[in-house]
């Protein structure tokens, strides 16, 4: 049968589902409110930034993070939906890592929040695997020819977080000051962390 999905305003389609499911007692609109609030205000790239800053100041933590990302991230309280199996990729002078999900838009929610539209868009998913240096240049990132660029394609089960390079001249900064420098894009690999 026709599903009318092309002609109908998505806001009406959502309202239809939500109202029917609520009337059937299958969902509680208050639970939806709480989920929206959590992802709008509480979960986001500030979580990942704290993971990165801790790895920069604590070599033992960094070693744990690189050997078992899921467990080390959970030490800071970040786990759950879409972050069940985490792998952390360290950027160095030798290797620059970039993350994509070519098939879908898989992204590590507990550490980065919900993905930006460009990450979910067809152009990024198509091109970052065939022309990563070109895409990085569009994001303002110039990777030296002597540095290998590795593109990691996320799967449904496994999510990546890039551990960006700590900028020079930040020896005197505290862990929380360092976390403030870390951007979302640097943890996807399409940005670098700049010195303050």
């Amino acid at each position: 049968m026709a599903t009318h999905r092309k002609e109908t305003d998505p806001a009406i389609r959502v309202k239809a589902l939500e109202s029917l499911l609520t009337e059937k007692g299958l969902i509680d609109p208050k639970a939806l409110d709480a989920l929206v609030d959590t992802f709008e205000h509480k979960v986001g790239p500030r979580n990942g930034a704290k993971v990165v800053a801790k790895a920069w100041v604590d070599p033992a933590y960094k070693a744990r993070l690189l050997s078992d990302g899921t467990a080390a991230i959970k030490e800071l309280g970040y786990s759950g939906l879409q972050g069940e199996d985490m792998v952390v990729l360290e950027n160095t002078d030798e290797v620059h890592n970039v993350v994509v999900c070519t098939l879908c838009s898989c992204y590590p929610w507990p550490t980065l929040g919900l993905p930006p539209v460009w990450y979910k868009s067809a152009p990024y998913r198509a091109r970052v695997v065939s022309d990563p240096r070109g895409v990085l240049a569009e994001f303002g990132v110039s990777v030296p020819e002597t540095t290998e660029v590795r593109v990691w394609d996320t799967t449904a089960e496994l999510r990546y977080l890039v551990l960006p390079k700590r900028p020079a001249g930040t020896d005197g900064l505290s862990e929380s000051q360092l976390a403030d420098l870390v951007t979302r894009d640097s943890m996807i690999g399409v940005g670098v962390v700049a010195a303050p």
Binding site: M1, V14, V129
Partner: protein, 103 residues
């Protein structure tokens, strides 16, 4: 499954558009659609694989022309119909009602 969602390496899809200070949701309905994801898993007992499979079955043109959360809507509508929680018939009747109320 081979299909339009398998975008890696495809040419001609245009520039990557980025947005400064992008909001988490671009409209209230996106937030509600997001919330339905976790809420419907609880009672409907489907898997992420099944959810994604419904999106991958979309027509190629429809897939490219619609946004992320519109893809999710397709998956909800199909999975909930298939499992009998919300049939297409009752959903379309409710949509007609809501559209009438809106005018």
């Amino acid at each position: 499954m081979n299909g339009i969602h398998d975008l890696g390496g495809m040419h001609g899809l245009g520039p990557i558009d980025r947005e400064e200070n992008e909001p988490v949701f671009h409209a209230p309905w996106e937030g509600r659609a997001f919330g339905l994801f976790a809420a419907t898993f609880v009672f409907a007992g489907y898997t992420v694989d099944e959810f994604r499979h419904e999106i991958e079955k979309m027509g190629h043109a429809e897939y490219l022309e619609h946004s992320y959360y519109e893809h999710w809507l397709v998956a909800f509508e199909e999975v909930l119909n298939k499992r009998g929680f919300v049939t297409h018939e009752e959903r379309l009747a409710r949509i007609a009602q809501l559209e009438q109320g809106a005018h």
